[in-house]
Subunit: 758 residues, 2 copies
């Protein structure tokens, strides 16, 4: 078991690496050449056209040394933008995502202060671990501050019981407040939004085949009959998988063409050549520019032919469509009601934003969908529960004795104090981390197989899978696997079952492990995020070989986006740790508060300057976030119950804890009824208000023309993923005038623009 | 433990009592004087006006002895009415309720045959229980036919595993077929229904208070704005609790008045007197007829004043209303959509039938509702889990040793063979039964507190509570409490937890207990039901003292109705027993098949001749029935898993059973998605079809006048619970012509009318 010294070493390493990353970031971001890596958002917004020059000395390197002195002042700058402007600038999704960190601070700062003041003295004076009988057990100084130091059956456990209630109550109170705020923010956001195609449009799936009519006419007739006063138009969905492949291939060939053209320009004497075989590695040697030009020509023709075929072939139309209505009211009605007596056909739901649609999944029939979900549930089960085995194996290696046994020749090296501390304080965290990196892609693929039809729902679904995985493997896996190795004997002799007790008892022992984990994952990990190493390298490669025009440079930027599916469950893990250890080992809490604070600043900086969201769901993910924090809270409560009953607390304390999870579940139901529908449905009253307003302000609006091309598969737009028309319109014509518009065309003069902090 | 002989004694007793009840019923029902007790349905339908006379000998006693000979021929008569006519005659609720028994037969007849043929030989030849080492354990011959007789670790368990899968698959298949049939029946029933007020009406609750407008105007304005093309009218709900009390009091006084008037008529010489105090037991003596006449006069005045007050006082209007629309489409839209951005106000849902409304619960605000639900959930928990203690106590007494210990002087009596068999075969079942009789009223009260707004939902909710109770107390309680007494020692020494194993192991041992239970509750209990003892006695008391006119006699009839809240969970218990014992002790299954057959005939007779349903929900309860059978199936599967792993079956068998519950849960989800919305929502397509049809056939319909008084609290209709107008209309003008109409006015001539079997 790690001692206080190990922790200190680990902390030193992590703080050092964090600071190193931050310094590197501070230096790199000031170089004009990196401007498009660290401030892509401002370029995409059109507010910045080219890097700011620091004096006239260089276009690439910033030689103005005064700017390096204040290397941390991006932090206050990140905090300065007020929230309404942030929503306007980066969208509601990002602004609300940031609030998760804020929520962590709101929950844990008071809990940290309270538990440190109340429980640490109670535990410290318990003095159990100094007794003679425990001399043969290993324990660290941290354990003396934890609940393990309180003698069995002591009246002191009442303090822990009381604190458990206080923490639960405070968490629920903050959650309720936050849910209310976010629901209001969402409703205000939706109300202030300009006209969007998705406000008028409903996605209808599982259109039944009709022997007499093609799909398109069948849909039109159905809605003309059943929504006669409201139906406006519809767009069928084409099966464009092959076309999308052609477009992607052409795009890649175009990149190669540009690459060889650039090469030729720089060295006009030599004609670049390539081989026609696989990846240009073998085959006959040809002139590269000619080759790619003819290939692109061929592909263009093929693409046009395929496009023709898809549009004219009725087989290529899938039984799904985007149906648009004359009013928002009509769309809201159609999205919320059942159309046919058979509930598996004519399924209607709100259309996602055009950008948000996941086109491949629109045509899955009902029975296939349920079977896919079953298979994926089983797959998730196996993935979650049998992934544990390698983790347990690696962690069992990551202690001194394990390594000495497997690799005995390393013994002299390992026995050195510094190396020992490093292995014990650092390796277990790293081992866990590597496993986790491989996972999100697998989970996202599984969600795609499950057949969700929008990117936002795919992300939400992957997040919940990832959350389950972290719960079982990182949390429970660490608790049990670690304990199993250290205390295997006690484990077998104790009565089986009694899960909460066993887990509960191993919690205090794993505090030091989780502290190192927080430092590796939560501190250094976040600092790496802000450095953006991969996009930095990629940008410079692209910039060197592929960029000719400013537009190319625009495309070479990879702003990235908030990866909700991966990062939200990771935040949830910190919530869980905080809630579990709040009563058990309060000294862990300051580490968590540090994580939330640091992440909040870093991600606020990132969403202001870097990330460009792919879609805007209006914070539709909040109910999930809320639910998962509550799941963490309930787990914490059950473990406290198990721990208190297992450590032989005063018999009369444990029953008092049973009410906690029941009340928490009730609280969840209450919140669900109170707020959730704000994230799922669109109230008719709001729709009617917006319709009426629009009729009054724009009586001659041609809605049909506006909606005509809103939901067209991106490959039909010449293969380029344009920002849709509606978005441009909002940019140029926002309902709420903001300061942001005054930046347009000017490069300076904003209190929050990224150059203000230099 | 009961031996085969005990079972035989119990069977003899129960068959004897069942036959006795049936003979008594056969005799009583043929007496003209009881005609209104055993055939009230036909009187209420207006098809029968007075008892059929058997010759001219007597109006009260049937002296035509030929009619007694065929005393069982009500049974074929009950089976003869075809289902469409049954739906027409008794409503869809009743017809579908009967199908639950039919479903039991469909599931269990094939399973019984299969398991008896396959598993009984496998078990019988196992011969474990004849080994020397088991000589000290008590076992009966029945156990030799059960899984207990198979040796530990035997390959024979593969047969049980396979049969478990076959049974689960067959059950799911039959359930799926049945769900499909019932969904179709419901949709056809709704489509063929004539115009009903509830088709056009939506119940809106939690109307927010408005400072400037009274509730009624506020509602009108809201719906005029948000449903401008569809809103027609609305009816506010009055708080009429006090008025209802006055009406009830007046009604009771009127009964007394009639009683004394009758008394006076029969004995004109003596004026009846009463005392003015509590229940007429003390106080000054007055002339009864005068006293009640003046009291009724006073009450009428009071009632009129109160009625005036309620209608004119704006305080008496609760924030809920029945809002009617011009079309079914408009109502369907409003019922399925969210109105306001705050999801706890302007809550809309389909209005229940006027008869189905539970008026007291219409005005409960959201927060209060959630708190009520929490409190009732906690109360249900305590009721369910602490009710077990007395049952366990009584059952521990109900064995020979227990009684001898507590009451040693009874020893000589008890030791006699007949008495011993009686105590062991009969008492445990009776003890359980008595506890259960007290319960349904408590559960219904709890459901009322929870705030459901229709009688049908109250019944559904009570049924689910009762189901939980039966599961925990009757099923688990019997298994554990019984085992605890017999095998307490083994119980304590085994590892704790491992719940399914422990329960699983006690299953085969309790087979004989459940067989006696089935005979007492399922055979004799059902025979008592058909005898209708309580209504028989009550009718004759009322007929003697209160009846003056034919209308009075009509009111004295108490046809009763299917008590879904109590009887459905009891059926579920038989499903559970059948599914659990299918693999374990197949000899129990014929008893269950007998129960389903007998109940099917009895209840079909009852719904044809007796019951008069209070409301018609269109089989809305079926999803609950389906779900609970699946819960039973999953419990059975888990117990099989526990049993097989505990009896040391071949290690490789148990893992194969894990897939069963997972597949069953998936099957539940599949069915839910496929069928449930047919029971919850009303599809727009259907609404549109009916609207269009109606516009074409009745272009001049004055819908507003039709709906004007549909939803008025019954006390405003002069204190009498009239059958609403809409129902009368359907009676006189059915969409589907049926044979039933030919009965109108004629007393004979139907193949299914109750007299046909005489």
């Amino acid at each position: 078991m790690a001692t206080l010294q190990d922790i200190a070493v680990s902390a030193a390493i992590n703080i050092l690496s964090t600071v190193t990353f931050l310094v590197a970031f501070a230096i790199l971001r000031l170089q004009p050449i990196n401007d498009r890596v660290y401030f892509p958002k401002w370029y995409l917004k059109g507010i910045r056209g080219s890097p700011i020059s620091y004096g006239s000395l260089s276009r690439f390197v910033n030689l103005d040394f005064r700017t390096y002195i204040r290397f941390l002042n991006w932090m206050p700058a990140a905090l300065r933008m007020p929230e309404p402007e942030l929503i306007d600038h980066a969208g509601l999704d990002s602004a609300v995502y940031i609030r998760i960190y804020l929520l962590g601070l709101k929950i844990f700062i008071p809990i940290t202060i309270l538990t440190l003041v109340v429980l640490v003295p109670v535990n410290w004076t318990g003095k159990t671990l100094e007794l003679e009988q425990f001399k043969n057990l290993t324990f660290s100084n941290i354990d003396k501050l934890s609940i393990s130091n309180v003698p069995t059956g002591s009246k002191r456990f009442w303090a822990h019981l009381l604190m458990s209630y206080v923490c639960s109550f405070w968490t629920c109170y903050v959650l309720y407040k936050e849910y209310k705020i976010i629901a209001t923010m969402r409703l205000e956001f939706l109300a202030s939004q300009n006209r969007h195609p998705d406000q008028f449009t409903v996605l209808v799936r599982n259109v039944p085949p009709d022997p007499d009519e093609p799909v398109s006419e069948h849909i039109e007739h159905f809605f003309c009959v059943n929504h006669p006063d409201h139906y406006l138009t519809h767009q069928v969905v084409y099966n464009a998988v092959k076309l999308a492949k052609l477009v992607a291939k052409k795009k890649s060939f175009q990149n190669w063409l540009v690459y060889y053209q650039n090469k030729h320009e720089r060295n006009p004497s030599k004609k670049p050549t390539t081989k026609t075989g696989f990846w240009g590695l073998w085959g006959s040697k040809v002139d590269a520019i000619d080759y790619y030009t003819t290939e692109i020509g061929k592909l263009s023709e093929e693409e046009d032919a395929e496009r023709e075929r898809v549009i004219s072939d009725s087989e290529a139309i899938v039984p799904a469509a985007f149906v648009s209505f004359k009013t928002r009211w009509g769309a809201a009605v159609c999205a919320q009601t059942q159309q046919s007596s058979n509930p598996t056909i004519w399924l209607t739901e709100w259309a996602p934003e055009p950008r948000d649609v996941f086109w491949d999944n629109l045509a899955i029939p009902y029975v296939e969908l349920t079977i896919r979900r079953l298979l994926m549930a089983v797959a998730l089960f196996f993935l979650t529960f049998f992934y544990m085995i390698p983790i347990a194996f690696v962690q069992s290696l990551a202690n001194i004795e394990g390594i000495e046994k497997v690799l005995p020749f390393l013994k002299p090296l390992i026995e050195k104090d510094v190396v020992k501390s490093f292995i014990q304080g650092f390796l277990p965290g790293i081992a866990l981390k590597i496993f986790l990196v491989l996972l999100p892609t697998v989970l996202m693929t599984m969600s795609k197989i499950e057949g969700f039809i929008s990117l936002s729902s795919l992300e939400k679904r992957s997040a919940s899978k990832y959350h389950l995985f972290i719960l079982v493997n990182v949390f429970l896996g660490s608790l049990i696997a670690g304990t199993a190795l250290q205390q295997l004997k006690q484990f077998i002799e104790a009565p089986t079952g009694d899960f909460p007790k066993t887990i509960g008892m191993s919690i205090p022992m794993k505090a030091t492990f989780f502290i190192t984990y927080i430092m590796v994952d939560g501190w250094s990990g976040i600092a790496v995020e802000i450095l953006r190493l991969v996009p930095l390298v990629m940008f410079h490669i692209k910039n060197t070989f592929l960029v000719k025009t400013d537009q190319d440079r625009e495309q070479a930027m990879d702003p990235g986006c908030l990866d909700f599916a991966t990062s939200e469950p990771r935040i949830q893990f910190y919530f869980l740790l905080g809630l579990v250890y709040s009563v058990v080992t309060p000294v862990l809490l300051p580490f968590i508060v540090a994580f939330f604070t640091f992440s909040f600043v870093v991600f606020r900086h990132q969403i202001i300057n870097v990330y460009d969201q792919k879609y805007e769901s209006g914070a539709a993910f909040w109910p999930d976030v809320h639910l998962r924090i509550l799941i963490g809270l309930i787990i914490a409560q059950i473990l406290h119950m198990g721990l208190l009953s297992a450590t032989g607390a005063d018999k009369s304390t444990t029953p008092w804890l049973i009410a906690q999870p029941i009340l928490t579940i009730w609280f969840h139901k209450f919140c669900k009824g109170r707020f959730e529908s704000a994230f799922v449905k669109f109230p008719l009253q709001e729709a009617m208000v917006k319709d009426t307003l629009e009729r009054a302000t724009e009586p001659n609006l041609n809605l049909e023309a506006y909606l005509q091309d809103a939901y067209i598969h991106p490959v039909f737009k010449g293969g380029e993923l344009d920002i849709p028309v509606a978005m441009d319109e909002e940019e140029n014509n926002p309902l709420v005038p903001t300061k942001r518009n005054s930046h347009l065309g000017s490069k300076h003069g904003s209190e929050v623009s990224p150059e203000a902090d230099i």
